[in-house]
Symmetry: C2
Subunit: 185 residues, 2 copies
């Protein structure tokens, strides 16, 4: 079966700091004709599921302009240009900047967030052996964050209540449930 959509032309729409936008005209497979694809290009990101010795998750609350509301999320950040070669370093940086810890990291998943129109790929790490950093790198200047520590029941209740409402954080908490049930280790 032939799936490929050949690019006939590309119209560049927007070059931002965070993402770029283009519209491609494509030739559909099997002579199905021509269509357009609206695309968002993003450099990728990292996020971290930080579990403490007391088996609690560390989360940050922040305002998200896209939804005009605050949300409770695992620490995360965009890959800076040139950082794609060392995403683990980026994850360690975000962990230190956002919550002031360093840790041992293990890659759990590498996933596209919105594959229908966007190429943003996010790496999710499990952080264990958390250690407070004495003088952590400061938060980004345009970020205002508050730190929360929740046990698993509280985290599940926060999903239920909609306070936790983003894919990466729900995915991380599912993984924590799988850890707790002994399904993964």
């Amino acid at each position: 079966m032939n799936f490929e959509e050949k690019t006939l032309s590309r119209r560049e729409i927007f070059q931002g700091r965070v993402f770029q936008v283009a519209v491609d005209e494509v030739e559909l497979p099997d002579g199905k004709g021509v269509s357009t694809r609206e695309l968002v290009f993003h450099n990728g990101a990292v996020c971290v599921l930080p579990l403490t010795e007391e088996n609690k998750i560390l989360l940050v609350k922040q305002f998200r302009k896209a939804i005009e509301a605050t949300s409770l999320e695992i620490p995360a950040g965009k890959l800076e240009v040139g950082e794609n070669a060392d995403p683990k370093a980026a994850a360690l940086r975000e962990l230190e900047e956002e919550i002031g810890y360093r840790a041992d990291l293990e890659l759990l998943y590498d996933f596209y967030t919105a594959i229908g129109f966007c190429n943003e790929k996010v790496k999710l790490y499990l952080a264990r052996n958390l250690e407070k950093v004495a003088n952590p790198r400061p938060q980004d200047e345009d970020e205002t964050l508050a730190l929360y520590e929740l046990d698993l029941d509280q985290a599940l209740a926060a999903i239920e209540a909609g306070e936790i409402c983003d894919a990466k954080t729900i995915m991380a908490i599912q993984y924590w449930q799988l850890l707790e049930s002994g399904t993964v280790s």
Copy 2:
């Protein structure tokens, strides 16, 4: 603690069929000054975890222009304008169009896919009691899909191999693992 970022002005960049793009100038909380936020607005989507009587998952393979590759995903689709009031109907439509089944649906999660810059919200349903539709609604004209049926071990191997690589499908399969382990029911 004050988190809100007040909008000072908005620049409309792009009005597409699938999403809109804008750049907001915002006033940061606590007198931290001014910054910009690049935003993608999307009408939302639905997706479905279809589990058969034989405890297999039904997946569709399709080409994704944003990543210039095929991927194996749970059935999903955008909400059409006006469909926000009845997302379950949209999920049933996608299930019929993409894989030719109807089913009983249960809402599992409602999540933002890329909360850092995009307001796309996706509802994930569990589909049980699958029944083949005799004359299913046809697939969208610009979609080319192939159907796959995998057991849980095969699905986990497909994640490992990167054939399954998107957030919604990984989240659905983790939920299936939680079902299998008896952690959720």
